[in-house]
């Protein structure tokens, strides 16, 4: 999905097409439907410059109605970074992403603990598995009220938490102040996932690691399973 100001579109396409050899189509923000697609990725970037509030304008893009329909019909949707922010603004995922607690942009490798393997994007992972994936954002500080958080935890919708390399969830390993170290969540059905880290940047050892492949492979696996 390409909004004005999106820049991880080419990186996501590279991961899916060049690395995983799966077909890719770029979706323009003005398109009216997403028919024929199996997986929609809302990549990172600064849609509309993030000038009002991250994702606040992109959610009004014509294509977002089609994405909501697609998600409600069980289609797989992954929001990465700015894409996560857009999914929240579109009410496809709960919570909000505030300015990093450091008040600074952060681009660095972090460790994520996979909290549950029921989402379409963690099917190939085991709970407790640690993935090393980079973040790159200024506003990734996940926030939700305690009731929402408890519901997310109860329903197994917390997908990733920032953790130490050994998997311990510690304050030191939290790069942005996210409540309960939350790095990614899913909707109740597990077909829509939003995450701040960039798995498309962790698909080749040459670039420092390939743990991000597990996320894309899980989605491909989920699609094959549905098809069978």
């Amino acid at each position: 999905m390409v909004f004005p100001g999106t820049w991880s579109d080419r990186d996501c396409a590279h991961a899916v097409l060049d690395v995983l050899q799966e077909p890719v189509r770029y979706i323009d923000h003005r398109e009216q439907n997403v028919d024929g697609l199996e997986l929609v990725i809302l990549p990172g970037g600064f849609s509309y410059g993030d000038y009002l509030r991250c994702g606040a304008i992109a959610r009004f893009a014509p294509v977002m109605e089609a994405v909501a329909d697609f998600a409600n019909r069980g289609g797989l949707v992954l929001g990465i970074c700015n894409g996560f922010q857009i999914l929240q603004e579109a009410r496809l995922l709960p919570g909000a992403l505030l300015r990093n607690a450091s008040c600074e942009f952060r681009c660095e490798w972090v460790h994520l603990r996979v909290e549950q393997s029921n989402s379409a994007f963690t099917l190939d992972c085991r709970p407790g598995q640690v993935l090393r994936i980079p973040i790159s954002h200024g506003e990734g500080n996940f926030f939700a009220d305690p009731q929402t958080l408890d519901a997310l935890e109860r329903n197994g919708q917390v997908v990733f938490r920032y953790c130490a390399p050994d998997g311990r969830v510690t304050a030191d390993s939290n790069p942005n102040g996210s409540v309960r170290n939350i790095a990614g969540i899913s909707n109740a059905h597990g077909n829509v996932v939003g995450m701040m880290p960039h798995p498309e940047r962790a698909c080749e050892p040459l670039l420092g690691g390939s743990d991000g492949l597990a996320i894309f492979r899980s989605a491909i696996h989920a699609l094959t399973r549905v098809a069978v």
């Binding site: 600064f46 681009c107 670039l207």
Partner: protein, 722 residues
């Protein structure tokens, strides 16, 4: 007489009377106000290089792989596979001194436009920064503002910031240095030159509306600053990286379109410069109708429109029959495009407002007619190096050095920059050079900027040679072969003989060094008048260099890789301490002779390095530079998270010079024990001295009985916050 009447006006645009008379001669009459403004901007030092042009002719600009040398928006060099690397470095010092965030942000914006105007997709940004010491509130304000501005623009635009450098020195307290380099890639056949050579073509102004921001920015950048400079804040432009991203995508798509004659960015001196340059390069003329230019505010005069430096604007010249297709592209990106004029056969720039011609000047005079200046040069007397006490506590010195602002880890800075977007960053910031994958190939591009102004202050000729040699060594340490240079010459007020003397010697050093290493200079920028309230910056040439690695699997890291690997020092250590970080730490006056480069030895060292890395002999390589050998060893230990056991460093020089001297032409390498004979042979073949230093392993950095510091302690000092 006319000149007397115009005195105040001339001051406002920083022209002198001789230049005024040259304008009168060129146009055959007294210029009107608008014409004076246009000439003032294009004849400013910033646009016309009137003081430096004669000197710059010494630089080697040609080579078998050069596709575009200086004179275009950016230089271009062939890297095989039908691809060209396009790059340039530029200064934004004056705006950043007044408004650090926007000054730095628009510096990044400007250099990005230079690269995508050439048809190339920007793939990397590097920044060379200099500030005063951080114990001053103003320096902290400038430092944090500039870093935030670079990140704010580059991160939003989606181009990774992969490298650069930052140094702190009292000499920059009033006048910081902000140089931004951008690197892009393009297929040969799509490399574009901004030359409008067809009369009748349509001129479109695309992107942002034109406001009153930045009027006389080029002039402002060409005069010294004083306490009233803060009043020039309205002359600093405000950046919109989101709009720039759309412009970039539109221009790259436009570049594939038939019938597009030229694409040119609007930078210093705005529309006047952009329109003038592209028509003049094509030996044509241009008519501009200022009423067609969309504006941000009412009541703007032709003068305001022609001299505005509003950001995120491009001029696009197309054949009339291609205008509709071009507009389709702009519409797709929701960009606004005004048809503001036409290319003519007149070789003149004519500006019309409400049907009346308000300026009419010959382009050759406007773009290329400035009388060159040759100021007097004076050369500082060289003084012997100060005598310093011996090192009594090398361990404490090492810890103080590695925690000092010039040597400590840059991670707190570069982690605020997106250095990974576009999925090509193989080696990111924080090492000798960044290494990027060339998409869809096995090749890599190594990128670095370099320049030690303390050496240049001691000896502009030798110091500039060092900067070139060190940049090349940084590139070579990754395994890549240096291929070309861009440069940014930041100096004080050239009307002062000692400053012009520095510039003259520095350019001579640059030319000699580039010739010695057979490196063409393909682009560059000169920033003079870095003077505030009569204080001039230290002479600061910044070298940007690009290297090519044919096979990324043959790259070499900078950190120790495996316990048991043997560490060697390549090159010769001399008794060279003047200008060192060690002397700075001890508070020694900046005197003496800086380290001197032998290019004969440098070439042998670099050839031997490339040979060794190509054969897979080396496990790691790290250039010995600021801080000397112990700092280089400590950094390799910290990068790799492995200690070093060194029984002691022997040699013909003092312990101070051995530990902390900054002799050039030296590299720390590590090698697996079984390949030591091979390394020895490769170095012997090229007559490169090599000295065994120690063995990788353990939790400490240990040097004889002098030093034993745990990596944790070392890391804590290294990671001191800014």
């Amino acid at each position: 007489m006319a000149v007397a009447i115009k005195r105040e006006q001339l001051d406002a645009v920083a022209l002198n009377e001789e230049e005024y008379r040259a304008i009168v001669r060129a146009i055959g009459r007294d210029p009107n106000d608008l014409e004076i403004g246009m000439f003032g901007a294009l004849w400013s030092e910033h646009c016309a290089y009137k003081t430096s042009k004669t000197l710059l002719r010494q630089l080697p600009t040609e080579g078998p792989h050069v596709l575009q040398g200086p004179g275009e928006n950016a230089g271009a060099v062939d890297i095989g596979d039908g691809l060209a690397v396009v790059f340039k470095i530029e200064s934004h010092n004056h705006p950043s001194a007044i408004e650090p965030y926007q000054g730095a942000a628009t510096g990044v914006g400007g250099i990005l436009r230079d690269v995508f105007a050439m048809g190339a997709r920007p793939i990397a940004i590097l920044d060379a920064l200099r500030f005063g010491p951080l114990d001053s509130g103003r320096s902290r304000h400038l430092f944090h503002g500039v870093v935030a501005g670079i990140g704010g623009y580059g991160n939003c635009f989606g181009c990774p910031t992969v490298g650069g450098e930052v140094y702190f020195d009292e000499g920059y307290a009033d006048n910081p240095i902000v140089n931004a380099m951008c690197v892009g890639l393009v297929r040969h056949e799509r490399l574009r030159r901004a030359s409008a050579d067809r009369a009748g073509d349509v001129v479109l102004l695309v992107g942002a509306d034109t406001g009153r921001d930045g009027i006389h920015g080029a002039t402002f950048a060409s005069v010294e600053m004083d306490e009233r400079s803060a009043e020039r804040r309205p002359a600093v432009q405000v950046g919109n990286p989101f709009l720039e991203k759309l412009l970039c995508e539109a221009c790259l798509r436009l570049n594939e379109l038939e019938g597009v004659t030229a694409i040119q960015d609007l930078g210093a001196a705005g529309l006047t410069s952009a329109a003038g340059e592209l028509a003049h390069r094509g030996h044509r003329g241009i008519d501009i109708d200022v009423d067609r230019v969309s504006r941000r505010e009412q009541g703007m005069s032709a003068y305001d429109v022609m001299l505005s430096e509003s950001q995120e604007r491009m001029l696009v010249v197309v054949r009339p029959d291609a205008e509709a297709s071009a507009r389709e592209i702009f519409d797709h990106f929701e960009l606004h495009a005004d048809r503001i004029g036409t290319i003519t056969g007149t070789a003149r720039m004519r500006v019309r407002e409400q049907g009346i011609t308000v300026a009419d000047v010959p382009l050759k005079a406007l773009v290329d007619g400035v009388p060159l200046r040759t100021p007097a040069a004076a050369f500082a007397e060289k003084r012997p190096a100060p005598a310093m006490p011996l090192v009594e506590e090398p361990e404490a010195i090492l810890l103080d050095l590695i925690a000092s602002p010039n040597l400590r880890s840059r991670r707190p800075i570069y982690r605020t920059y997106d250095h990974q977007v576009q999925d090509n960053t193989v080696i990111g910031p924080g090492f000798d050079a960044a290494l990027l994958r060339v998409p869809a190939t096995d090749k890599g591009l190594a990128l670095t900027t370099d320049g030690n102004s303390r050496y240049v202050a001691l000896d502009p000729y030798e110091g500039t040679r060092v900067a070139v040699a060190e940049a090349a060594r940084n590139i070579v340490c990754t395994g890549a072969r240096p291929i070309a240079v861009t440069n940014c010459l930041n100096f004080g007020n050239p009307e002062r003989p000692e400053i012009f003397g520095q510039l003259q010697e520095s350019v001579r050093g640059l030319a000699d060094a580039c010739r010695a290493l057979e490196l063409p200079v393909v682009s560059g920028n000169v920033s003079l008048y870095n003077e505030t309230s009569e204080r001039n910056i230290p002479p600061t040439p910044v070298i940007g260099m690009v290297g090519l690695l044919d096979d990324l699997s043959r790259r070499c890291p900078a950190g120790f890789q495996d316990d048991g690997d043997i560490v060697f020092l390549l090159g010769e250590t001399r008794e060279e301490l003047a200008g060192s970080e060690y002397f700075r730490l001890l508070g020694a006056p900046l005197e003496g002779r800086p380290p001197v480069v032998s290019f004969e030895a440098e070439r042998r060292l670099q050839a031997a390095m490339l040979d060794s890395i190509g054969r897979g002999v080396l496990r790691c390589a790290h250039d010995v530079s600021d801080g000397g050998l112990l700092i280089a060893l400590a950094e390799s230990a910290l990068y790799g998270g492995r200690g070093l056991r060194c029984p002691g460093i022997a040699g013909p020089v003092s312990r101070e010079a051995a530990y902390f001297g900054e002799s050039q032409g030296r590299i720390v390498v590590s090698v697996a024990p079984r390949r030591v004979p091979e390394l020895q042979k490769l170095m012997a073949n090229r007559h490169v001295p090599l000295q065994a230093i120690g063995v990788v392993g353990g939790e400490d950095l240990q040097v004889g009985s002098d030093i034993r510091i745990s990596l944790d302690t070392l890391r804590q000092a290294w990671e001191t916050a800014f």
